[in-house]
């Protein structure tokens, strides 16, 4: 009898528990459905439609938009080059910084230094990119160099300027996950490696780097996915001479109003992002034995 009562009240508890969980999840779920899932479905539907004569979308079922993708091949290739190269450049700069912060910096300085990495991020990327335009432009560094006799240095509107802007803009996104994975690293593993005869270099390659790979892959995929849609920095610092997918999307949705083609490009971009994430996940699981990339 008492067991029966217990079972009923347990059932009641579980119901209340489930209800509470649903209540707490509702706002986030609603938000995602309205602003992510529905637009995504709309884009997917648009991508198999046709452009209305006066621009916009007209219902249809055709794969013509996808067949037309090669028309924007240049933008695709430029993006496919910019995203990994930019992410790689970011990684090369970020890793030593994260390494220093996590393993070498004095404990009491660590948080302050970490804050210094993050604080510039609080200003809008647009503002900071404009600042770089000025620094690299005719009245910035080239003027300073001319002052000490080095004339005709051109910095703005070069691939180098774009790369610099990208590394600068995305650095914190790369530093933080790498920092976290290095911070978590069990220091005794480094001692064990040294004890077993490994030089500092082979300890770094064989233990530190491998065990920080989940952080590296998180940072890399995060930055790379954001770079797939990047067009601001190349436009401002590269002079807008090279077109990326981002430029193509702005153009198709806002100027030429070819929504279906723009949608097809967007869907393709999402597909590429998913492939990048899966690949990053595979790599870090295989090498470090970790279950997943922290991002997803």
């Amino acid at each position: 009898m008492s067991a029966g009562i217990g079972a009923v009240s347990m059932h009641g508890n579980r119901f209340r528990h489930n209800f509470l969980t649903a209540l707490l999840l509702a706002p986030a779920t609603a938000w995602l459905v309205v602003f992510l899932v529905l637009p995504f479905i709309a884009i997917a539907v648009f991508s198999v439609g046709e452009r209305a004569p006066e621009g916009g979308y007209q219902a249809a079922f055709t794969l013509a938009q996808y067949a037309n993708l090669p028309a924007r091949a240049t933008a695709f290739w430029n993006t496919m080059l910019l995203a990994p190269v930019g992410a790689l450049a970011c990684l090369l700069v970020a890793y030593p910084v994260a390494y220093y912060l996590a393993l070498r910096a004095p404990q009491r300085w660590r948080l302050i230094l970490l804050a210094l990495v993050v604080i510039p991020f609080w200003t809008s990327l647009l503002m900071r990119t404009y600042a770089w335009m000025y620094i690299l432009g005719g009245r910035g560094i080239p003027a300073l160099l001319a002052f000490i006799g080095i004339e005709d240095v051109r910095l703005i509107n070069t691939p180098g300027a774009v790369l610099l802007g990208i590394v600068y803009g995305y650095l914190p996104l790369m530093i933080l996950p790498i920092y976290v994975s290095l911070e978590r690293l069990d220091r005794r593993l480094l001692e064990a490696s040294a004890d077993l005869g490994a030089t500092p270099l082979s300890t770094f390659l064989g233990v530190t780097l491998k065990l920080s790979l989940p952080g590296v892959m998180t940072g890399f995929s995060l930055v790379m996915i954001l770079l797939l849609g990047e067009y601001l920095i190349p436009t401002l610092l590269g002079g807008g001479k090279v077109f990326f997918i981002g430029n193509a999307l702005v153009d198709l949705f806002l100027q030429s109003r070819n929504w279906p083609f723009g949608s097809a490009i967007a869907i393709t971009l999402v597909a590429v992002s998913v492939v990048v994430l899966i690949a990053a996940n595979r790599i870090s699981t295989r090498v470090s034995g970790a279950r997943r990339v922290d991002l997803i």
């Binding site: 005794r188 593993l189 001692e191 064990a192 040294a194 004890d195 082979s202 233990v207 065990l211 034995g289």
Partner: protein
């Protein structure tokens, strides 16, 4: 000693800022010995081990390994290997790759055939043959312990360092590993240096025990010496169970002193250092050196408060008027039935020379320590 010691400390001091962790240690470990560094936490034993491994540098003095001064030699160039506390196995490598990690670092490079063969032998030695492909997190604590041992021993070190290697294992496994470690050391014949805070572990496994306290070596000797002839009150109290009774020196005759206990009873105790008449002393009486008899047959009389029957032995907490509670341990002879019951009056006796008298230390925590034993058994 003609042989070069495997490990030698000469005047080694280690300071961290204002804190002195190890102070002026001289120690020579003969070849092929099993040595335990024993002491409470913070006594400097782990610091000593880490100075042998090369993870800490002495502030003063020198550490020698097989006669070589190790000053400035990084860990990866020292002929020693360590079994770390919690093992520190590489989580991203499987068992075989963990074990062969050290072999892969060897220069000139070893052939992959030799690496595979030696790693296989090492796994066989710790009875883990066939486990090479397992992930570390798939292993039990005892298996991880054995992988850590194989990973260290496969490199054929001159000395194996063990940092509290059994602390994470349960009691049954710990006893098995104690025997296994002893056998391994005997078979391989290299020096083992074990750091532990567990006196039972130190006494049961090692050829020599080095008792440390406050960054110094208090006593170095064979386990039986440490137990039977503790150098001071700290060792007597830290190693094994003992009863400590306060008293004052009433008279002397050769090696023996007469000590007047709190209740006025005078007992003869052996002194370890010079003592003055009238000096306050602590007398150490091992529980097993006490003999219990019918009331009136010994110098001390008391009443049994608790009895813990352990099979081959029985432990008694005996309240002695004016002195406190004493712990006694008596052998149990099957069929003899001479067990004392709680509430029964008994007389406590001991052989001449078994009580040891030590100068009272400053902290005077004697009674408190006797009470601790009572807490454990009641």
């Amino acid at each position: 000693m003609t042989a070069v010691p495997d490990i030698e400390f000469r005047g080694v001091t280690k300071r961290y800022g204002a804190v002195t962790a190890v102070s002026g240690i001289d120690l020579a470990v003969p070849p092929s010995a099993f040595v335990a560094l024993l002491g409470p936490s913070g006594c400097g034993k782990t610091t000593c081990l880490r100075m042998i491994g090369g993870f800490e540098q002495p502030s003063e003095g020198q550490v020698f390994i097989r006669g070589q001064d190790m000053a400035g030699t990084p860990p990866y160039r020292r002929p020693v290997n360590m079994v770390f506390q919690q093992y520190a196995l590489f989580p991203h490598l499987d068992v075989a790759d963990n074990v062969s990690y050290g072999l892969r670092q060897a220069r000139p490079r070893l052939s992959s055939r030799e690496i595979g063969q030696r790693a296989g032998e090492a796994l066989e030695m710790v009875r883990l043959a066939g486990y090479g492909g397992r992930k570390i997190h798939e292993l039990s604590g005892g298996q991880q312990q054995r992988v850590a041992l194989a990973r260290a021993l496969v490199n054929k070190p001159a000395v194996l360092l063990l940092d509290e290697p059994l602390a994470a294992l349960d009691k049954k496994l710990r006893t098995d590993m104690q025997i296994e470690l002893q056998n391994l050391q005997r078979d391989i014949g290299i020096t083992f240096v074990l750091v532990t805070h567990d006196q039972e572990e130190a006494l049961s496994m090692s050829d020599f025990v080095c008792v440390m306290n406050g960054g110094r070596i208090v006593q170095l000797g064979q386990p039986s010496e440490i137990y039977d002839e503790p150098a001071d009150l700290f060792v007597a109290d830290f190693v094994g169970k003992t009863n400590l009774l306060s008293g004052t020196v009433a008279g002397q005759s050769g090696d023996l002193v007469d000590v007047a206990l709190a209740d006025g009873t005078v007992i003869a105790a052996r002194k370890r250092t010079a003592l003055q008449k009238g000096e306050t002393v602590s007398v150490s009486l091992r529980p097993e050196s006490l003999s219990l008899g019918a009331a009136g047959s010994g110098p001390l009389k008391g009443i049994v408060r608790n009895r813990i029957f352990l099979g081959s032995t029985a432990e008694y907490a005996i309240e002695v008027q004016g002195i406190g509670t004493l712990l006694a341990k008596a052998d149990h002879v099957i069929g003899h039935g001479n067990l004392f019951k709680p509430g029964e009056p008994v007389a406590i006796g001991f052989a001449t020379g078994t009580p040891l008298a030590f100068p009272e230390t400053k902290n005077n925590g004697t009674n408190q320590r006797v009470n601790q034993h009572v807490e454990i058994i009641s």
